[in-house]
């Protein structure tokens, strides 16, 4: 039997372009990896991590478990398309083997099996396969229907906004929409002419045979297969250049991630896997406060990744992000959106400049002596209530403290890093680090989550434990060095600062401290889902009134808890929320200091 017909040509061409393009991409990306990353891959490939990765591929690339968690309907849509199609292919494969035995059959032989082997040529018919294949086709078609609905009316799918696409995406999307309905028609007409098929194709086939003249059926038979082949071919050609590249990229990405490859401060080849693994599902659009509060619709992670992939990223898109991490924590592919945006900013703005910050040399404005160092942070100097509260807490715990920057210090470097000037940030890091070592501290406490984050992530302070003041205060209470007055009369609500919560994973410590003093009432958005105050240093694009709009919305959420005091643990959040709140806004340290026994 020869598995060839003219209509296969579009499919074959598409298939060749697809596999060539993907192969080129993979080879380029893998070749571009730094040595250290290549080593990690070699090490990971022969470790149990390989199997955990395989399991995740099944769970995420096929079943789309994480999307299910965010939005079950959307999860079903993705699962029916991915898992359904996968099953159609694999069951189809088994079907050919079952009929023809193990032998080399070209790919289009499997795909157009029904054309090459219509039922009347088969001696031992296996209706079980017909049923399974029909069932799977129905499964996929249900997903296609949902995709249509999502495009027409995203709200019906539980999404306020869906992604705006570009031309290649539209071509691929249109082709994809055609693939399965056309396949249904092809197989139904085949069944009408030659018999076979189960409840779906068989059923429609019977109806067609009864309703339509056999000559007409024969006349449309060949063109329909052409159409099917073209739809597949066009989809394949568009695929590597459209968002559907994610289908093939997510799989290696999962493996690489399990082998501990990560995006870093500077762009590198690995980033390609993350960037192209974005399926542009648009789940990141809805939680974005720039979209929710300000109606800014073109800067979200999905558009950022798209523009970066197309090499047409603009400063105004890259800079317009709060980096609050709300999208990152919801991204079903688990892309490191903030790190990617940061290294894009670095590529756009980082200019190594040796003469910069020479003035830091030999500078030391610190005061006091002690093993515990306290780094207030620039912003905390504008919230002296926090400073005086920390002083009272240190006094109550009889802690000797070295004050790093009470009289004005040097910035921690994170703001520069957030703006993409990472080489310059390194100068701040080096300066502060040597200052910490010079004063022999063993614990470094800071009240600013922005500083905390960079201390933890970039400073590599061997021998110095870095603590946020919430962690430090909790430790003092637990060690019995600080006694606070508990009263059910006091009601508090807590705002999770982005850099502290999603950024540093500190959710419980501040809450434990608050609960040692009074009752904690949670706002409707809290912990991982907490809102950003809008004043984030990461965003240099929005103006003051836009920041205020976001702050007012957050403040409203917190005011609505009815708590008498809004507590937060970041000077920037405090200032922002105070602009919009009707209740008093205090730093965690203030409520502790006010209730020391």
């Amino acid at each position: 039997m020869t598995f060839f017909a003219d209509f296969c040509i579009p499919f074959i061409v598409g298939e060749i372009i697809l596999f060539t393009a993907i192969a080129i991409k993979y080879i380029m990306w893998l070749k571009g990896l730094p040595k250290s990353d290549k080593k990690l891959i070699l090490k990971g490939a022969f470790s149990p991590r390989f199997f955990t990765a395989t399991w995740e591929v099944i769970r995420e690339s096929l079943l789309h478990h994480r999307i299910f968690k965010v939005n079950p309907l959307l999860g079903y849509m993705h699962m029916s398309l991915a898992f359904g199609w996968f099953l159609l292919i694999s069951v189809g494969w088994i079907e050919t083997i079952a009929y023809l035995g193990l032998k080399m059959i070209p790919l289009h032989g499997h795909v157009f099996f029904k054309y090459f082997i219509p039922l009347n040529e088969i001696t031992a018919h296996k209706p079980m396969f017909d049923f399974v294949m029909d069932f799977l086709l129905l499964f996929v078609l249900s997903g296609v229907t949902l995709a249509w609905i999502k495009r027409m009316r995203s709200r019906a799918m539980g999404m306020k906004k869906t992604t705006q696409h570009i031309s290649f995406d539209r071509i691929a999307l249109t082709a994809l929409w055609f693939v399965f309905p056309v396949r249904l028609l092809c197989e139904s007409v085949t069944s009408a002419i030659y018999g076979g098929g189960s409840f779906l194709t068989g059923g429609i086939g019977t109806l067609l045979a009864a309703g339509i003249n056999t000559e007409i059926l024969h006349a449309i038979y060949e063109p329909l297969w052409w159409l099917y082949s073209c739809a597949l071919g066009i989809f394949f050609v568009a695929m590597p250049f459209s968002r559907y590249m994610h289908i093939f990229t997510e799989i290696p990405l999962i493996f690489l991630r399990h082998f501990h490859l990560r995006p870093e401060a500077k762009e590198k080849s690995y980033d390609n896997f993350e960037v192209e693994a974005c399926s542009r599902c648009g789940i990141c659009i809805d939680p974005c406060q720039l979209q929710m509060q300000l109606g800014i619709n073109d800067v979200q992670s999905v558009y950022f990744l798209r523009d970066r992939r197309k090499n047409r990223l603009q400063q105004k898109i890259a800079n317009n992000c709060l980096m609050c991490g709300r999208c990152e924590q919801i991204c079903p592919v688990g892309i490191n959106l903030n790190t990617l945006r940061l290294n894009s900013r670095t590529s756009m703005r980082n200019i190594p400049n040796e003469s910069r910050y020479k003035y830091l040399k030999n500078l030391d404005r610190s005061s006091g002596e002690g093993r515990v160092g306290y780094f207030a942070g620039c912003m905390t100097l504008l919230t002296p209530n926090t400073l005086s509260a920390m002083q009272r807490i240190f006094d109550a715990a009889r802690e000797d403290v070295w004050w790093a920057d009470k009289n004005g210090g040097v910035c921690c470097g994170r703001p520069l890093k957030l703006s993409g000037e990472s080489d310059s940030a390194q100068k701040m890091i080096d300066y502060n680090k040597s200052l910490f070592y010079k004063h022999n501290i063993t614990i470094l406490v800071t009240s600013c989550p922005i500083c905390l984050r960079i201390f933890n992530e970039e400073y590599k302070l061997d021998g110095i434990e870095v603590l946020h003041h919430s962690e430090y205060i909790l430790r003092l209470i637990e060690q019995g060095r600080l006694h606070v007055n508990y009263s059910t009369e006091h009601t508090f609500t807590y705002h999770d600062p982005c850099e502290l919560g999603r950024g540093s994973g500190i959710y419980n410590e501040p809450r434990a401290v608050i609960e040692a003093i009074g009752t904690l009432l949670e706002p409707s958005h809290s912990r991982k889902n907490a809102l950003c105050c809008g004043s984030s240093l990461a965003n240099t694009a929005i103006n003051d009134s836009q920041q205020l709009t976001i702050a007012r919305n957050v403040a409203e959420d917190l005011d609505n808890t009815g708590a008498e005091t809004i507590v937060t643990a970041c000077p920037l959040c405090k200032k922002a929320i105070a602009r919009g709140a009707t209740h008093q806004v205090k730093d965690l340290s203030e409520i502790v200091a006010a209730n020391i026994l």
Binding site: N319, L382, G408, S535, L537, T540
Partner: protein
């Protein structure tokens, strides 16, 4: 530097007849709120870098707006972008954005 025993003083006058305001206009077009500056000096007073050097944000951006660009890029490079100025500005000017914008317009990225 060789000392010739004399210096050539730049004219002190800000000559708006001669200064080329193109860059200045571009800066203002992208950041119109910069025009709302009332020169209160809060930014400079709170400035972390200004605490350690002679960097004066208010003066530099005012000079840029007058078309006096010389040295502005180098001056802005003293800024640590810490953001205190944005927090104290009574006009709500996006000062960090201004620093980055002026560097972009006068620098090389």
């Amino acid at each position: 530097m060789i000392n010739f025993g004399f210096t050539i003083n730049k004219p002190r006058t800000i000559d708006l007849n001669r200064n080329n305001l193109n860059k200045s206009n571009e800066v203002i077009r992208e950041m119109p709120e910069l025009q709302t500056c009332i020169g209160c000096g809060s930014c400079t007073a709170s400035c972390t870098a200004g605490n350690l050097t002679d960097f004066n944000f208010r003066k530099v951006h005012t000079l840029v707006r007058r078309g006096e660009y010389q040295g502005a890029y180098e001056e802005m490079n003293k800024c640590m972008l810490c953001g205190k100025c944005r927090l104290v500005c009574p006009r709500g000017i996006n000062t960090r954005g201004v620093v980055m914008l002026i560097k972009r317009k006068l620098g090389d990225f």
